[in-house]
Symmetry: C2
């Protein structure tokens, strides 16, 4: 293992590639990789990997191959994965998976966007575009950190796997499929966006779909029918009561003892009826519910179904027309990283902690998050310490606080809500370009190296990204994380 | 005017065409003329009219031509109308419009049908298929009653207009467009399906669409977002409170004094969100509300909007994110037929009453209905007495009571609700065929002539169509209605 590279040399190499990285990310974010539409983005990734000397494995996931595996979530349809491997010649070090997901969450109504969601663009310090932050910026960071080392003539001392997977935001089956295909490494790093903390625990997530049939009637006799949407309302109430019980102090996982509402129930989608003048003959709504690590998903399902069926029994129409509950989408177990006290896990955390201190100048904080990620597949089903280090980034809520940074819309938008979703994620630090053009402040030079801090958090109140000010010169360089991982993957001269 | 035809001769002529009429109706009902898809059905009608010697006028309605007229309902898109005219040579009688609508209500979920909705078919005494009863059977009756007279060598003593219009079930713009195109006659007859009564009054109907925008958030922080579907629930409640107030005794139109709930509010369609794991950023729901004859539609709109906006002001998120209310679809005024005491109106009712007595053997009952029909365009905007004589027919609710008549499904259907919607309308009396094959009972012969009674009502309880038993020999022959109208249109020898 070759440890002769100075950290500043590595960071300079990262800096040298920063414009290329931004261009890569801009182009990647132009691929509209919403669920089921990831092919063009995966094709782009595969071509880039091939051009960079990776051994490329692109494959269409056959659901039949993974449907019997632990962690599988029921879905309809197949989709594409892509993994690039940098083979080590010596295989003297420890292997490393750099994982990220290519899928992005739905755009929502297009009229709530100031620019088209996949018209990725740089505007001052920020990059906008659906998925630019969550988590195409992470994929870009993974790729260009390794490129920086390669430009220094370093080659991995063990196999490195660059993984671009689908379905992270809805099932995790992309990550499961790469496991089924045999990809393993000593640890895995997933640079999801948010707050420069190490994720200590993530919740489980279940999706269910509830299907109601009403009693179709001409609206002239509405009283004699049973309106499926109105029949759904007591079911919503019952589900929220269950949510309250599941979050009660005595039911919480110890990692979430201080969080009063870690498990969120969400009615996320609804559809019903054909037009105004028919009493709704049908209604379908989709529910997301959280679960704590260690909770059996079947038990959670039974609780949810119990709440629905109990409420239905008290409804005049549903009592004899039982709702149908379909399990499709997330069937994700919770995962407590910090409960894994194996030597491998402790070594991985130690490496991340050292890297974090080197770049950020303070110890790595840990956080239990109220969402799920693909990390569960590594930790629960492959005995691989997965470390989710959360870079800074945005989501629609975060962006709201950044409204002061928004330019005037290109087209007049009247609705007061419209501006909220503008550039809802993927606020990418573009500090160096700003420095070059507007602010010849050498402090920005250091900040520009913080690849992992591309997307800055902007908590409510004055935009924190502004208040942060410049980095300490020479500090907070995220490329150090990859350096910090050298004990695992290592890099050696060509 | 030639009155030399005996009623029994006319009824025999109708009988002679009954199989042709059934074949016509079967084929017409195979055209899936749901909203916006009426073209093939209208094409079929136009070809048939042409073949039967009508002067055919098929045209695409240009919304711009009618959007400024009283009675217009806002819509998106154009659609086709068809009118056939039988020109009188002498023009000595009074002209007649025989009107019906070609559009049918939405099918609802296909899995609730035992057979495909437009796979029209005869099964015993019944014809099944979406739209067969409402109201393609009425169109068939209109056409073949005239054909029967033509087969007797009779030709109209004044112009007769056979009208097949679109959009009756959602805007009425098809009927408005025929008015704009200049079609006028002394009276109009619209044989809508139901209960062999004369409609004395119909309510007005307004459709509105309410659009809510939520505050999109990752579900991990659901508490900080605003779920658009859950925000809709207090609006539903407010609308139902308004519905109660509008139906209060002191607010009722005198025609509905005895009806506690003539004005029905219906949440008929809802759509919102993209998937389970995003807090709903948007929700759209469609509302239908009734109004009494004489109520100004703008006033009703303001009441509805007021209820929505008042409820929104009390909602933590909607208070600063006002719902958008869009008026699209029905803007139909109520219409009281019985308040029209003009000589022409009284003469038309008198003719119908005589015909009804002749066929049914008892005076014509009048009924105030809680729906709207195209009759308002004739009465309110063209000074034409429109008479809505409601033949027997079915709707999804009626069919439910007929479950005992249903054959086994062609494919196993497990869900207990599935069988409800099977053949939801268009139960067509097919008595003669039954008579021929199974029951050589001469009483059925008379019943077979009741063209207007094609679709029998099946109120809850044992199927009334069975309990009715055979008609009185020689009685209840609906072709008599057309005979009864001879004072208006008259028929003379070729």
């Amino acid at each position: 293992m070759n440890m002769d590279l100075d950290i500043t040399v590595i960071l300079h190499a990262v800096d040298a590639l920063f414009d290329r990285e931004l261009d890569f990310l801009l182009e990647l974010a132009r691929h509209p990789s919403a669920r089921g539409q990831e092919q063009s983005a995966q094709g782009f990734i595969a071509r880039e990997l091939g051009g960079l000397g990776y051994e490329v494995d692109s494959w269409q996931i056959d659901v039949a191959d993974i449907s019997g595996l632990p962690g599988f979530s029921p879905v309809i349809g197949d989709y594409d994965n892509a993994v690039g491997t940098l083979r080590s010649r010596s295989k003297r070090g420890r292997s490393l998976i750099l994982n990220g997901h290519i899928d992005v969450v739905p755009t929502g109504p297009l009229d709530m966007w100031e620019r088209a969601p996949f018209d990725s663009h740089i505007d001052g310090d920020w990059m906008g575009g659906r998925g630019a932050g969550d988590m195409k910026a992470g994929l870009a960071s993974n790729l260009f950190a390794i490129e920086a080392l390669k430009h220094l003539g370093r080659h991995p001392a063990a196999d490195e796997f660059f993984e671009s997977v689908v379905e992270e935001d809805c099932t995790g089956n992309g990550a499961l499929a790469r496991l089924q295909r045999g990809y393993r490494a000593d640890p895995a790093l997933i640079p999801e966006p948010l707050a420069e903390k190490l994720v200590s625990s993530q919740v489980g997530v279940i999706w269910i779909q509830v299907r109601l049939k009403g009693l179709p009637t001409h609206v002239a006799y509405a009283g004699s029918g049973a309106n499926a949407i109105e029949a759904a309302i007591p079911l919503f109430e019952a589900l929220h009561l269950l949510e309250g019980r599941m979050n009660a102090q005595e039911c919480r996982h110890h990692n979430y003892a201080g969080l009063s509402h870690a498990l969120n129930l969400n009615i996320g989608k609804i559809e019903g009826g054909d037009w105004a003048s028919s009493v709704l003959a049908w209604c379908v709504f989709d529910v997301r519910m959280g679960a704590f690590s260690g909770q059996n998903l079947d038990d959670v399902r039974h609780m949810i179904e119990g709440a629905i069926f109990d409420a239905a029994r008290n409804h005049p129409f549903l009592a004899s027309n039982r709702p149908e509950v379909v399990h499709i989408g997330f069937a994700a177990e919770g995962y407590s990283f910090k409960d894994d006290q194996s030597a491998a896990a402790r070594a991985a955390v130690g490496a991340l902690d050292r890297a974090h201190c080197l770049v950020v100048g303070k110890p790595l904080e840990h956080e239990a998050i109220t969402a799920t990620t693909d990390a569960r597949f590594f930790g629960l089903y492959a005995d691989t310490p997965a470390r989710l280090w959360r870079g800074r980034g945005g989501d629609p809520r975060v962006q709201r606080a950044c409204r002061s940074r928004m330019p005037a819309p290109h087209h007049p938008i009247d609705h007061p809500v419209h501006r909220r979703l503008v550039r809802p994620e993927g606020c990418i630090t573009h500090a160096r370009r700003r420095h070059r053009v507007h602010r010849p402040n050498p402090h920005w030079q250091g900040q520009s190296r913080c690849l992992q801090r591309h997307a800055r958090a902007c908590p409510s109140g004055p935009c924190r990204a502004r208040r942060l000010g410049p980095c300490q010169p020479g500090g907070r360089r995220s490329a150090g994380f990859y350096t910090g991982l050298r004990p695992y993957s290592g890099h050696e001269r060509h």
